[in-house]
Amino acid sequence: MKTESNIIPYLKFGIIAGLVIYLYYPELLTTVQSWSSGYQYSHGYLIPLVSGYLIWRRRHDLRSSLVEPDMLGLFILVPGILLLIIGYAGYEPFIKRYSLIITMIGLVYFLLGKKITKMLLFPIGYLILMLPVPFIFFKSLAANLRTINIKAAYAITEVLGVPIIQEGATLCLPNATLQVIDWCTGIQSLIAMMAISLLYVYLTRMTLTGKIVLVFLSIPLAVAGNIFRILVNIFLAYFFGDKVLGGIIHHFQGMINFSFTLLLLIIVSFLIKRIEVKVSAKKIL
């Protein structure tokens, strides 16, 4: 039977959560709208669910931990709120959105203490991945990825003896023309791979060095995967014509390619773990 003292913590949580949601409601609304407005943020729906699952996984540890409110939390909470105020005063939505994460971490530290904050730091920090970045940053990243993809695909195709000309973002074959638009630069795969690799390293047992190496390796793996995808399109178009690239083939190709890149990530993580085991065995000897 719940006593009055058992209900009070839940009541306090509800009040704080309600105030935070009321304070950040406009930013939360535009964030959710961005998830449905374009392909680049469609993964946003999953991020809060993953974050919630990660917290639920540690529910026993959280329940058994002592609540030790810490004034040091103000050094995180106050800057988070100040960033929000600066975002309002300076009409800068990007700063307002990202201040939410800092405010949440600050509140947890201030109200629940250091030990619980350590348990919740990753699940709360992971929510950064659901926030849209400024469009100009997205465009700049896409432009850089496009340059890498096109140059690599062009060089490999030339070496393999297929006649090809590159004109900016366009690759010209004798019988087809392919344009690498923003959605073909692999930017979505890159964002998804970063999200998955971060989650993967959090859930697996690995040294800190191994985790950092794996997260950083996910970037070239995503880029390599997209270069491979462009090459497949080039060869399909060269041998069968550009009509073979339309519609369902293009759609499924993306999914197959991403699954393959994910498999590579898992293989790399196994290799890293084997290296770590060998290194630690040598240290013992």
Binding site: K12, I15, I16, L19, V20, Y22, L23, V67, P69, L77, V78, I81, L84, I85, I86, Y88, A89, G90, Y91, E92, P93, I95, L107, F110, L111, P134, F135, I136, K139, S140, A142, A143, R146, T147, G168, A169, T170, T177, Q179, V180, I181, D182
Partner: protein
Amino acid sequence: MNRNTIHFIIACLILAVAIGFSKAQDTQNAIPLSESLENIPLESAMYVGSDVRSISILSQYDTADEQLLRSYTARNKDLSILLFVGYWGYQTEHRSIKSPRYMEGAQYFVGKKSVRSPQGSFWTMNSFVHDHDQQKQLIYYAFISAGQIIPDDYHFRLHRMIRTLIYRRNNAALIRASTPITPDVPLQEAEAYIEDFLGEFLPIVLEHLPK
């Protein structure tokens, strides 16, 4: 009162103050133009212009207080430059200057270019090639705020935020010039053409904007 409750009350107070601030409405006064953009000359010694109407460009900047969209052609050439100038007397989160890069299509050769006037002054602008629907165009643009020409998008956002915070004013303008890139007019030629044009017209545009 135990420590948990004290921390809870402090957290609620901090959040309540933040809510109070966020709900407070702060209106800005619009800063008017020194002279209407319509008074930018249609003709000069080197160029002839005409007003145009492009739904795609004008709709992108429909929050501007004043807009100008013209096509200019050099008297000795058959190549047009589309010039857009927009002015915002004040900006808010919902009426702010969007970067010309905020559009669909591939963009490459993004970089800073110098534009020199016949009198010897020079400014830095941002440029890129836009490739969409098999049509390429070279675009030069810069933001103008408090008499400064700011080519960088991030710098402009920071500058706008700081001016809003300190001076409670963030009036600014955008100048955007574009010309097509074709097999007959390659990139280098298009760059030289657009830079010559901007060297002549940028000082004229600056005269129409508040310092």
